[in-house]
């Protein structure tokens, strides 16, 4: 697609920073998780964090809110650090939407990497296997997952999501804590990523559901200028979440992950047509 774009405009696209940041966080979490394992056997890397995966997952903070407010304690295995990261991700979300999903979450990165392979395998059929009607309905399923996780965690005081969490499974394949169900969900996510972009994010991620709500209130939004738009649909094709950006002037879709793939910096061939701008700013 990027090649098509260059053909259309002859304009050089901005250097891509997102994959580097995604790769950085993926490796950071991977090494931290391995270091935690090493630390338990007394052989950790001295200068690297030894935190558990629970300690550096902001969703742990979300599921702990109820218990923290009612009892003043955290859910088992969750610590203050999860609250700090949750707050940071919320600040980012209010500012520019679910940036955590699009730029930081290693599971999102993992799915994108698998999808690159899927695109090569399936060609133009990629992202066409799931009927659009089913797709539209399934995209709200992640709110059901969110409600279930929060309710169950509030009732039990335990981190029940760990048993089905593909993110935890991905970075604990070597751990005794790895739950079979989580491994199955991770496997299903990887397989589905071969035929569609970010399936876990679209259909089941409870944290994505929470952060997705910020698309309704965020300060900086993806804005399209209809006056300069040439209706080429490049933005639609570039969106990993399948949002039809070309039909919108302001993207408020709850599934936007602020990856900026649709913007004029990357896939939109017309300068200053799709941009991340402050609410109320000129489209130009």
């Amino acid at each position: 697609m990027a090649t098509d774009t260059k053909k259309t405009t002859g304009r050089k696209k901005a250097a891509r920073i997102r994959p580097w940041i995604q790769g950085f966080f993926f490796i950071f979490v991977l090494i931290t998780s391995l270091n935690h394992l090493l630390e338990e056997s007394g052989q950790s890397i001295p200068f690297w964090p030894q935190a558990s995966l629970h300690a550096i997952c902001p969703f742990g903070g979300v599921v702990s809110i109820y218990q923290f407010l009612t009892v003043g304690t955290f859910v088992q295995k969750i610590h203050e650090s999860a609250f700090v990261l949750m707050a940071a991700a919320f600040v980012l979300a209010v500012l520019a939407g679910p940036v955590f999903c699009g730029w930081i979450c290693p599971l999102g990165t993992f799915q994108e990497w698998i999808s690159k392979l899927g695109r090569k395998l399936t060609g133009k059929r990629f992202d066409t296997y799931i009927p659009s009607k089913a797709d539209r309905v399934l995209r709200y399923f992640r709110y059901v997952v969110l409600a279930w996780v929060i309710y169950q965690t509030a009732v039990t005081g335990k981190l029940i999501f760990q048993d089905v969490d593909p993110y935890f499974a991905l970075f604990n394949l070597w751990s005794e804590e790895l739950a079979p169900a989580a491994l199955v969900v991770l496997g299903a996510t990887a397989l589905l990523s071969l035929i569609t972009e970010r399936p876990w994010c679209k259909y089941a991620c409870p944290y994505g559901a929470v952060l997705g709500l910020s698309n309704k209130i965020r300060i900086f939004r993806i804005r399209r200028a209809p006056s300069t738009c040439i209706d080429c649909g490049a933005c639609d094709r570039a969106c990993p979440m399948g949002i039809k950006v070309s039909g919108l002037e302001v993207v408020k879709d709850h599934q936007c992950i602020s990856c900026l793939e649709c913007t004029s910096e990357y896939h939109c061939p017309v300068p200053a047509t799709v941009e991340l701008k402050v609410m109320g700013g000129d489209a130009k």
Partner: protein
């Protein structure tokens, strides 16, 4: 005003790591449970760490940091390989000496609490049966931590620890000496229950007791008050209400075991 991709990337990394740095500077960045016991609030020893608050999740290293007893001393007392002493978690004693638990003479976290109290001279009220490994008793007597009648009483609760893989100090005998308790309420069934059964510990919540089949009315009766939010940790509740956790635990454990 618009944001370019590189700016958003910098902002994302900056906010995430900035939050970590700021919270760390403020002392709020905690990635694990604190391994610092509560301090004694009143009396001669006010301000000192309370042996009663030693948890099963503590390692010998944590105990050393809080009570200034060397890990090697603890390892010798409890028959643990000195090379593994610093990171050895107290709750591992239960599995290490499961044979003792089955014989009704469990050596576990309670034993460490009692040993620490005797070794440091800090106050500790015994409300349950406690047994100490023979090496622990020998060490306390040899170092003059206890003497006279107290030493004789300690010998009564000494048990021979069985040989285990990680232990280099443990004597070879595998039979536990049955001995009377230092102080008695009712016997704790902790070591005798099957793995699936709930064993009430320092982190157990009321929810877990409810899930084990104990009714709210029974819990009310056991704690002599309205049951708080089920997610409340029982030990925390007892501390806040001025209740004796060991006594409450014993009653609740009996209810759990009866289910």
């Amino acid at each position: 005003m618009k944001i370019r991709a590189w700016m958003l990337g910098v902002v994302a990394v900056g906010i995430m790591f900035g939050a970590v740095l700021i919270s760390d500077a403020l002392g709020y960045w905690q990635t694990e449970s604190t391994k610092t016991p509560a301090v004694i609030s009143t009396g001669e020893f006010a301000g000192k760490a309370d042996p009663a608050d030693i948890r099963g999740s503590y390692s010998f290293g944590d105990v050393e940091a809080a009570f200034d007893i060397k890990s090697e001393v603890l390892a010798e007392a409890f028959g643990v390989d000195p090379a593994e002493a610093e990171g050895f978690q107290l709750k591992s004693l239960e599995t290490l000496y499961v044979a003792l638990a089955e014989a009704g003479t469990e050596v576990g976290t309670g034993s460490v609490r009692y040993f620490v109290a005797l070794y440091t001279g800090l106050p500790y009220e015994l409300t349950e049966e406690v047994y100490l490994p023979q090496p622990a008793v020998d060490l306390l007597i040899e170092e003059g931590k206890v003497a006279g009648e107290a030493a004789e009483a300690l010998k009564e609760i000494a048990v021979e620890i069985p040989a285990v893989e990680t232990s280099v100090e443990a004597p070879g005998e595998s039979t536990a000496e049955s001995a009377p308790a230092a102080a008695v309420s009712t016997g704790e069934a902790e070591g005798g229950v099957v793995a699936e059964d709930l064993v009430i510990k320092g982190k157990t919540t009321f929810r877990e007791v409810l899930d084990a089949g104990v009714s709210e009315a029974e819990i009310r009766s056991a704690i002599g008050a309205e049951m708080p939010n089920p997610l409340t940790v029982i030990k925390t509740f007892c501390t806040e209400q001025g209740l004796d956790f060991e006594a409450v635990k014993t009653v609740l454990q009996a209810l759990v075991d009866a289910e």
